[in-house]
């Protein structure tokens, strides 16, 4: 498993498959796939930190809610996040910090995260998830 994520083809929207050795790694790589797709034009390279706490009903919802929170933070603060550090991480709760940069603008408008064809699973030695984003 060399790739951290891949962008797949989809009729109307954005479909990303991400991989990770752990669930935390999987969440991080999905976030990076999303960040790359946003195509932000960096305003300055100063590192931005943002606190994040998400509570959901299960792991799949946790992934959707985590990414939705990132879209909200990204759009309202005009920031893009490339890294995350999790202090707590369970099946339905996560808490930690996002690290990113201010952007001038995004060239792709990721508007929402969907449950459509959502998949999150443990393969032999890694975790894998597929998410479709509304753009």
């Amino acid at each position: 498993m060399d790739k951290s994520f891949e962008i797949l083809d989809h009729p109307a929207d954005l479909k990303i498959r991400a991989f990770g050795k752990t669930k935390e790694g999987l969440f991080l790589n999905m976030m990076r796939g999303m960040a790359e797709s946003q195509q932000g034009e960096i305003e300055n390279k100063k590192e931005i930190k943002k606190e994040i706490k998400v509570k959901s009903s299960d792991l799949a919802s946790l992934l959707v809610d985590f990414l939705s929170e990132i879209i909200y933070l990204s759009q309202t603060n005009k920031e893009i996040y490339f890294n995350a550090g999790f202090r707590k991480f369970s099946e339905n709760y996560l808490e930690g910090e996002l690290f990113g940069q201010k952007v001038k603008r995004f060239n792709e408008d990721i508007k929402a995260v969907t449950y459509h064809e959502l998949e999150i699973k443990k393969a032999d030695d890694h975790w894998e998830a597929t998410v479709i984003f509304d753009i």
Binding site: A12, V64, N107, D109, V113, H116
Partner: protein
Amino acid sequence: MMTKKDLNKISDFVWEIPKSFRADMRVPARIYADQNLLEKVFDDRSLEQLINVATLPGIINYALAMPDMHEGYGFPIGGVAGFEAKEGIISPGGVGYDINCGVRVLRSDLSFGEIQPHIVNLMNQIQRDVPSGVGQGGGVKLSEESMKKVLEEGVRCIIEKGYGQKEDIEYCEERGMMAGAQASAVSEKAKSRGRDQLGTLGAGNHFLEVQKVDEIFDDKIAAVFGLKKDLVTIMIHCGSRGLGHQVATDYVSVMHKVASKYKISLSDAELACAPFESQEGKQYFSAMASSANFAWANRQMIMHLVRGAWQRILGQSGGQLKLIYDVAHNVAKLEKYDGQNLVIHRKGATRAFPPASHDIPEKYRLSGQPVLIPGTMGTASYILAGTQKAKETFFSVCHGAGRVMSRHAAIRAAESSQLRQKLESEGIVVRCLSNKGLAEEAPMAYKDIHNVVEVVEQAGLAKKVARLKPLGVIKG
């Protein structure tokens, strides 16, 4: 795997999936299509999605799909369903993320010949005045109090602030202010995402076109709508921006958490729903109505900016731009059918009320509601009129052409600079900051709008009145 053999032919334009097709269906599903469009519905998962809709609690008659049907989230795009208000559900997946994505059309007093020498300047001015593009904010940053008013009063509050004329209110579906809206049902996150987006077009498939009436199909109704051949019109297509998307995100999450409480089992997680009369159902309805009001206010503000640009370029000789109508195509509404209160979900479908309806402007009571169908970039759009026969679809028709090709495939297939050249060689002034954005919306990525509209008319759901051809396009 479903095939054409699984469908029963009801007429040349109506096909049915019987209730017996899948054990969990509560009603049959019906698709409006001719042979050509029917072939295309097997290319994606939209039929499966329509069947899933037919399983939802409280659905009555049929799960319906319009001829522009294609795969969406939860409901297919082009999906329509009515649910009993007392026993049935409401679902954000039956409305969509862009709540009250919709269209308005304005008519001018000028003909194509009169506008032709000014078209480039006009498109440049509109592009300067109407903010467009990814995540683009507008000129107005709403205070908390103003946001509350916009969410609860929609177009009315924007006009009070001077962005339009009082008579504009009359020519919006729901008079631009949907009952039941409560700003308190909209999260702070959603309000922050919409704070500086009022009066902005956004990106994706949203656009603003200056058009001319290319053909009139019904002289009498066209005269009622104020249309004649060669007249210049303006079409605005956009929705509730980030605010509506956040409301949908918030309530899909809420409804996931309460599904077991209401013993609702879902065939698709994107159909997350709650009983209409439950606390969560009522709250979503209030938040959705608020987002719908935000979208109407957004289109009103854009129209105001367009009127300013028009006057700046054309001066007194430009005359006035009058609103023909404004329709929503992603919304759930409480409507009465044969004495029964129903929650009608239209997801990528346009309300098309018939003549004599009390819910349309008095001016249109003999003709039926103007039904505005935006086409694909560089092809054509249509104006139709509502008919009585559309009662069978809860007075609903298609909302556009319907996508058939992925955005990436469209970018690969349509060399964007060539596409720009092709449109310009046809005399269409294109103003789009992003070549990629232009290619994504290439006409080849959609079904044939003429075919889709023809099916609507042949099925008797609406009557063709006029076809509009683009003179200039602004895309975010």
